[in-house]
Amino acid sequence: MDLTTIVQILDSMMRLSTPLIFACLAGLFSERAGIFDIGLEGKMLASAFFSAATAAVTGSVLLGLLAGLTAATLLAMVHGVASITFRGNQLISGVAINFLASGFTALIGQNWFQLGGRTPSLSGDGRFLPVDLPFVETIAGIPFLGKLYGELISGHTLLVYLALPTVLLSWWILFRTRFGLRLRAVGENPEAVDTGGLSVSALRFQATLICGLLCGFGGAYLSTGMAAGFIRDMTAGKGFIALAALIFAKWRPGYALCACLLFGLLEAIAIRYQNIEIEGIGTVPLQLMQALPYILTVIILAGFVGKAIPPRAGGIPYVKER
């Protein structure tokens, strides 16, 4: 494996990890505040659809992003009303959102575009195009750095560059601000927060809102950054992989980034190396390469993570008075 190949795989890893990073951070905010959310998948899907549909109609990817964020936030509010206001079962509300999103995106898509649930292919300003960072030409001549900068760091879409600072920002909000402290407290011990004179519901709603926004970015990236248009069920389990990454990361932003990059890397390797020849053994079959990310996930989750302790009040609706 030479440098070029490694750079290409890492490049592909960045693209494939981005939706996971957004979804994982979305789950992080929600679960840290004590709201389990398995509806990440559904919210991403809704955002993917509405951002692609709006971008296709208006020709503006920014309007599309706005529509995607709105859609994901609205679904997040549905989850909030069901699980905070009405104290419903959070898992079930999440499942309902996944079903809902999977169904209505295809239905509305068919109704609007008559393309079997697809949106038309996006082009030009209708999608996020790769951004070339400055000085690519200048340092292209430098052997190692030039390649690294020109091919790995430069040339991604805007949302990829947005994902990394978002991790930092999430860490700062959760662990360095008063709001973050309260958010974490509401997930560990809502009674204490309530005694302190703060509204548990309001804090949890804020967390759900942030969760919706982040899912919105992830979904919009899928349909307008990574692909050029929406197709039915295009999230393909990414919301669930993000949840696995969240547990893997023990609900911490930095680890979450690493976990998402790892999942992205495994996927990138599986895509690139369909047939590996190993001396003396023969060809590693394609099937094994494609199962590799899942096999490694099981091994990593079972063996290397240790005990992952979720926020203590997670999944339990808060009842102020009995």
Partner: protein
Amino acid sequence: MATVGPHLHFIKQGARLTPRSKHEGTGRELTMKTPQILTAILATAGFISGAAFAEPALIYDMGGKFDKSFNESAYTGAERFKAATGSGYREIELQSQAQREQAIRRFAEAGNNPVVMTGFAFGSALAKVAPEFPDTKFVIIDMVVDEPNVQSIVFKEHEGSFLVGYLAAETSESDVIGFVGGMDIPLIRRFACGYVQGAKAANPDVQVIQNMTGNEPTAWNDPVKGSELTKAQVAAGADVVYHAAGGTGVGVLQAAADAGILGIGVDANQNHLHPGAVLTSMIKRVDVAVEEAFTQGSNIEPGITVLGLAQDGVGYALDENNQSLISDDMQATIENLREQIIGGDIRVHDYVSDGSCPVS
């Protein structure tokens, strides 16, 4: 719906009811549900059997009706039949593997004749269902099912792929070209093998990078993976990429256009998807096959139909979108090759005949 219904019910309960009444509530809910479901099933069955008699039916495979490729080509054929005759047809898009047999049986029970299905994957399901309905005619595309009431239509994709492979190698400046297949099955290897043979005929030194999208039927509809595979091939130097991957190919052609290289479409004429960035398309006239089957109706002859270059069942697309990419000389060369293949002077090896390809 059945799954979502009770969940919503639960949310309400969690909010208001005490644990004891929760149990009662669930029980009641279930007993009320059963007759409703039964009515729903009966209503659906009634609806289907009440459908118009002897209309032809079309079953799309999992790439979806609007894959811009194989299935959409079948849809185009069906729509042409509708426009020409004014009579309708029935259709279904499969959502899962388990629906294959069910879909064929439903249409046969409802009196639809003939029942046309697009895709090799219907083979075993049809072999099972066809003997149950001896008076119904079935047509399967891309697969041979040996039953007295089945017409099997297969294409010589290797012949068409040979021509586009030749074009690809002639056009390539890097002498590296790519192929992205959908699901890894012998049929798709037939495309690949023909393509490589054509490329090697034009330039023995050309390197062909081959990738398959996956082993599941979902590999027909994964544009994101298609575009990742293409990006990998571009990074390895490929400057022409041919896809035989149904809906996945939308991503392949997109990635090729984005990278400033040339894609090659498949099944339907895909030149218009990215004008100037699609070298040509290997056309497979699924539309003609479907229209033909629909027009013949229940009188269709059982047996095996093989459509190759000679029958215009496969070919390459030339229109205003790729005119500037293919010179007159090139076109003459390709036409010459086409004649030679039809005349038997060039024999294109069929991967499916022996499960191997002489070149790679």
